[in-house]
């Protein structure tokens, strides 16, 4: 069985400061991991994915994530937050053709 745990339900940062959204995973084999973003009343958009290639994954809109097997983590970062980054972020692990979602982290950007 596999699962993901998002360690913060809500993160607030000031515009222009770094963003860190934390995710730990549990998987019995080498996982495929994803970060999705959801803006209010919208569908989910894929930010980035890890599928056992490079451990540092770059995504869209300046986001990146690092896969750390020793820490079973896949934290999402961005050097400088923008107002448009305010949204819900989901860390996701895939098994077969199914996704297991974390509970989500709501990111608020302070002007």
């Amino acid at each position: 069985a596999q699962s993901v745990t998002q360690l913060d339900s809500h993160v607030s940062v000031s515009e222009g400061t770094p963003v860190l959204l934390r995710c730990n995973y549990s998987s019995s084999y080498s996982p495929s991991l994803f970060w999705y973003v959801q803006h209010p009343n919208k569908g989910l958009q894929l930010l980035l994915k890890y599928t056992s290639a490079a451990t540092l994954v770059k995504g869209i809109n300046g986001f990146e994530a690092e896969f750390k097997k020793s820490e079973t983590s896949f934290h999402l970062t961005k050097p400088s937050a923008h107002m448009s980054d305010a949204a819900e972020y989901f860390c996701v692990v895939r098994g077969n053709e199914k996704l297991t979602f974390g509970t989500g982290t709501r990111l608020t950007i302070i002007p």
Partner: protein, 115 residues
């Protein structure tokens, strides 16, 4: 642009009145999913089609049914909506080759209100 389309974006139905939500895709993906997402929660998988094979999640109520008449279209039927079925319904697609699945692409969702 290739995409996943959901219609309508907003649907209001009455308690107990059947409703159908629609999803179409231009990605030619062989797997299509339906998720239910309630307010401030993660999406919950209801069922999926792998080609024509229907796969129901164990805890999906019988009130929820699905049809996939062809590769491009998939429908979610709620036979007798209750107030607890009010949610965002998300359609997603992926390509699966053998045992490997690519990432899922999501539609914009249909927000269902039950009055």
């Amino acid at each position: 642009d290739a995409m996943v389309i959901q219609n309508p974006r907003y649907q209001v139905t009455q308690f107990g009145k059947p409703v159908t939500l629609s999803c179409s895709q231009t990605l030619n993906h062989n797997v299509m999913y339906w998720y239910q997402q309630k307010s401030s929660q993660a999406p919950k998988l209801l069922f999926h089609y792998y080609d024509k094979d229907f796969n129901n999640e164990a805890d999906t109520p019988d009130n929820f049914q699905s049809r996939r008449p062809n590769t491009s279209f998939c429908f979610l039927d709620i036979r007798s909506p209750g107030l607890g079925d009010a949610a965002m319904y998300l359609c997603a697609t992926t390509k699966k080759k053998g045992t490997f699945s690519y990432e899922q692409y999501f539609g914009p969702g249909t927000r269902l209100t039950v009055t």
